[in-house]
């Protein structure tokens, strides 16, 4: 399967702070990729590198198979982007915004934008400064989708939205992705949201990817081992944190455990917590 996004050893530094410290990940084409991490883990920086807003200090970026040092303006035309903060010109209406943004995208589809305004129930002629946070997020989604980009980047777009608005937004993303077959890269720290939407998940901590894969695959690789006596991970296993270990599914199936020991599969939230805690030891992504 070819990848829509492939990042290798990506590094970004803000002064002495290493925002991304050798981040590597791959997002297969047509997938909805949930990018999980705590606040400050490097999610937004990763998306800004992908949007060409922030320049990477090291590593390589590959978009749709094309390697690049920095995302160019031409490449950006193929990317839709919804940020966590919709900082539109407050005096513009969604329709005026559409006309303004359209000038930058040769592939802009006016009819599609009008359709999205209708379908997403956006008041097209009210100033964006007067719209609610949820509606502004929908405007952001409509602006991102109207050029019909093959790649959609969502940077915690539902932050600050109420649960109903968040669910509506997520449903729309899933529907659009299915309808158009586009790749979606969704960053979030809401595990439930990612679990409901994403087909693949990556967890980032301190600027590095800790683990990634399909949700059910992660649950088969990361499990909790409960025993009467403290156990050390056998060869082929790695301790993630405490009694949460990581190994290939085959290793889990072949392992023989002492009497009284039990192995539990974990929900995604537990897996996220185990990897996202700052004191978790670095474990190679499987």
């Amino acid at each position: 399967m070819d990848d829509a996004i492939r990042l290798t050893d990506l590094e970004v530094r803000y002064g002495r702070v290493r925002a991304l410290d050798g981040l590597s990940l791959a997002v297969p084409r047509g997938e909805i990729y949930g990018f999980l991490g705590r606040n400050g883990a490097g999610k937004t920086t990763t998306l800004r590198v992908l949007m060409g807003i922030v320049r990477a200090d090291g590593g390589t970026i590959e978009l749709n198979g094309k390697p690049m040092k920095r995302v160019s303006v031409a490449t950006k035309r193929g990317i839709g982007y919804v940020s966590q903060e919709q900082s539109f010109y407050p005096w513009m209406t969604p329709r005026q915004l559409g006309r303004f943004v359209a000038a930058f995208y040769p592939s802009w589809d006016d009819a599609e934008f009008e359709r999205l305004l209708r379908v997403l129930d956006i008041p097209a002629d009210r100033r964006t400064g007067q719209l609610s946070g949820g509606t502004r997020t929908k405007v952001g989604l409509a602006l991102a989708l109207a050029p019909r980009p093959p790649l959609l980047l969502l940077d915690e777009p539902t932050t600050g939205l109420d649960p109903v608005a968040r669910r509506e937004f997520d449903d729309w993303v899933v529907a659009m992705a299915a309808e158009r077959g586009i790749t979606v890269f969704l960053s979030s720290h809401h595990v439930d949201e990612v679990e409901a939407v994403a087909t693949r998940v990556g967890i980032i901590q301190a600027g590095r990817a800790r683990i990634e894969g399909r949700v059910d695959d992660l649950r088969r690789r990361v499990r909790r081992v409960r025993a009467l006596e403290p156990l050390e991970p056998p060869p082929g296993f790695a301790r993630v944190r405490g009694d949460v270990w990581q190994a290939d599914p085959e290793a889990w199936d072949a392992a023989v455990w002492p009497e009284g020991a039990a192995v539990d599969t974990l929900p995604l939230e537990e897996i996220f917590l185990a990897f996202a805690r700052t004191d978790a030891p670095a474990a190679a992504a499987a």
Partner: protein, 607 residues
């Protein structure tokens, strides 16, 4: 350039910029009208560019550049497929074009305006346009750089304004010799020549530097620099900026050389050149050349010795014009405006020691920028000037002691420290006697050398800036010399008592005089003020209606009254305050003795 961005800017800022341009147009019209009176072909244009162009640059930079960052819409712009550099260049060029457009339109309007009355050759006009355009380009370039500094932009504008001020006021550089501003100098204003090529090179270099700086700020750190700078200033930063600007301004004004007033020329009269001071005295009828020269010598000796004693750095020329017809007591000092010096008009028969005393008084007062006349030291000034004029003349000293002894009321330190009020009540004759006595008592208490050292400290030239706040107060200086105001007042009172004993016989010869003043309602004139004085065949009444802010009444109109009663020739409005003063010639004191000084409050309603 991005057309979409240009359209957005036009939509977003069109109304504000149109209003700004209309205001600028109105300002241009006013400046052209005003300049037409002062002459000069492009004077109005130069003034317009110097005043309005920086404001326009500030507005444009705020609207086009700063607002995008403070409104956080810069981030939205960066999510679109338009390069950060392209967006910045579009905005910069738009601002530049608007500035240049303004310059061209202003130039055209100026040219049309001037061509009505003058013939201007095309080359001169083109040179003026070139200057105007280069100036506007540089101003815009700087405004854009300042704008990219976000919250510090006003500090940068303030710093540049301050730097220009320092360059002109402290550095002594002529305003139109300053870089960039020189483009709008006399050559451009008169449309007679193109400024030197170097002026353009410097201006364009500054413009290029500013543009490069603005671009660097816009692009550095993936635009993070400009975004960070756009945040609001913290309270600490505001305080630091204000204090820094105030500190620099204070230092600048401290360093600022004060204008030197040239001394006036002595061209007539008897002249005597002393060590420091040249004195001229004009002879008059009953005041021959010999008398004039003698007075000039005395004045020069007084002034030179006091300058040495107080180590003053002043050399004012002195000119005395004796005039017939003036009252013996009247001495007037002329206001010289821009020239330095002391010019006195006195009566031909004016007491010589009074003239000398007034010269010394004026000398110290001028040397201290009038701070010697503050109430907390004025009695010492009067005392020092009198003491110095009378030194070595025992007869005159005793006469002044006699005048001091004629004051039979107690004068504690509070009276000495409210000297303007005390001397108003006592009159010049007795007040100067008292002041003389105070300084004589001081010299007796601490010794003449110490009294002069004290005077040096009190009557020094003060800094003409904020440092004056930290000068030592006279009370502190007195205390340091081992004497305080209470002690000094007591010593002076004791010396007056002693003088009263010495001159008891003379004082007993003085006529007993009683005086009063009262007002009553007058059907014809509002309030009429009536004076009464018994014990003298005639007297002089002085009067003045006081405003709420009057402290020193200064010269007052005089009414000579023969007999007992007089009515002041003034129509005092209701609720007015009137100062009424009655004086009689006192042959014993040999001066006009003030027997009454009263500030009357005319009642609001007629009695």
């Amino acid at each position: 350039m991005s057309l979409a961005l240009l359209r957005k800017e036009a939509h977003e800022h069109g109304a504000v910029l149109a209003a700004t341009f209309l205001i600028a147009l109105a300002a241009l019209y006013v400046l052209l009208q005003a300049a037409s009176w002062t002459g000069g072909r492009f004077v109005g244009l130069a003034r317009y560019l110097l005043t309005i162009a920086p404001l326009l640059g500030l507005v444009l930079a705020n609207r086009l550049l700063v607002r995008e960052y403070t409104g956080r819409t810069q981030f939205f712009l960066e999510t679109l497929p338009i390069g950060r550099a392209r967006a910045f260049v579009t905005k910069w060029l738009l601002g530049c074009a608007l500035m240049l457009l303004t310059a061209v339109l202003a130039w055209l309007a100026s040219w049309e305006f001037v061509r009505r009355s003058e013939v201007i050759d095309a080359a001169g006009a083109r040179a003026a346009l070139l200057c105007a355009a280069t100036f506007c380009l540089t101003v815009w370039s700087f405004a854009a750089l300042a704008g990219m500094l976000g919250r510090y932009r006003y500090i940068v504008w303030g710093a540049v304004a301050l730097a220009l001020l320092i360059a002109t006021d402290v550095g002594g550089i002529a305003f139109f010799d300053l870089p960039v501003i020189t483009l709008l100098g006399p050559a451009m204003q008169m449309a007679v020549a193109t400024p030197k090529r170097l002026a353009f090179v410097v201006a364009l270099a500054i413009a290029a530097g500013c543009a490069a700086g603005a671009a660097a700020l816009a692009l550095a750190g993936s635009g993070a620099m400009a975004s960070t700078l756009a945040r609001r200033m913290t309270a600490r930063e505001v305080v630091f900026a204000v204090v820094a600007l105030l500190a620099v301004a204070t230092v600048a004004f401290t360093l600022e050389p004060k204008p030197v007033r040239p001394p006036f020329d002595l061209i007539e009269g008897e002249r005597f050149d002393g060590k420091w001071v040249s004195v001229g005295v004009r002879p008059a009828a009953a005041f021959d050349s010999a008398a004039a020269l003698a007075l000039a010598k005395d004045i020069a000796n007084d002034a030179d010795s006091l300058i040495d004693a107080l180590r003053l750095d002043v050399h004012p020329p002195v000119y005395v014009l004796p005039q017939r017809g003036l009252d013996r007591e009247v001495m007037q000092r002329a206001a010289l405006g821009e020239a330095d010096g002391i010019v006195l008009k006195v009566a031909v028969d004016a007491p010589r020691e009074n003239v000398r005393m007034l010269v010394l008084h004026s000398l110290v007062s001028d040397a201290t920028l009038d701070r010697a006349m503050k109430d907390d030291r004025h009695v010492l000034l009067d005392g020092l000037a009198s003491y110095w004029a009378l030194r070595g003349d025992e007869h005159a000293r005793e006469l002044w002691w006699l005048r001091a002894a004629a004051v039979d009321e107690p004068l504690p330190k509070e009276r000495l420290l409210a000297w303007s009020e005390t001397s108003e009540r006592l009159g010049d004759c007795k007040a100067l006697g008292v002041a003389f006595g105070v300084f004589d008592a001081l010299a007796a208490r601490v010794g003449l050398d110490a009294a002069l050292a004290l005077s040096r400290e009190i009557f020094t030239k003060p800094p003409d800036d904020a440092r004056v706040l930290f000068e030592r107060r006279p009370a502190a200086a007195l205390a340091a010399a081992g004497v305080d105001w209470d002690r000094l007042a007591a010593d002076a009172a004791a010396a007056r008592d002693a003088a009263r004993e010495r001159h008891a016989a003379d004082l007993a010869r003085r006529p007993a005089v009683t005086a009063s003043v009262a007002w009553h309602a007058s059907a014809a004139r509002g309030a009429a003020i009536e004076t009464t004085l018994t014990g003298a065949p005639r007297y002089a009444a002085y009067y003045r209606v006081l405003s709420p802010w009057t402290t020193d009444a200064g010269d007052m109109p005089r009414l000579d009254v023969i007999g007992t009663h007089g009515v002041l020739p003034l129509s005092a409005p209701r609720a007015a305050r009137v100062l009424a003063v009655l004086e009689v010639d006192d042959p014993v004191l040999d001066c006009a003795n003030r027997v009454l000084a009263e500030r009357l409050q005319v009642a609001d309603r007629a009695r």
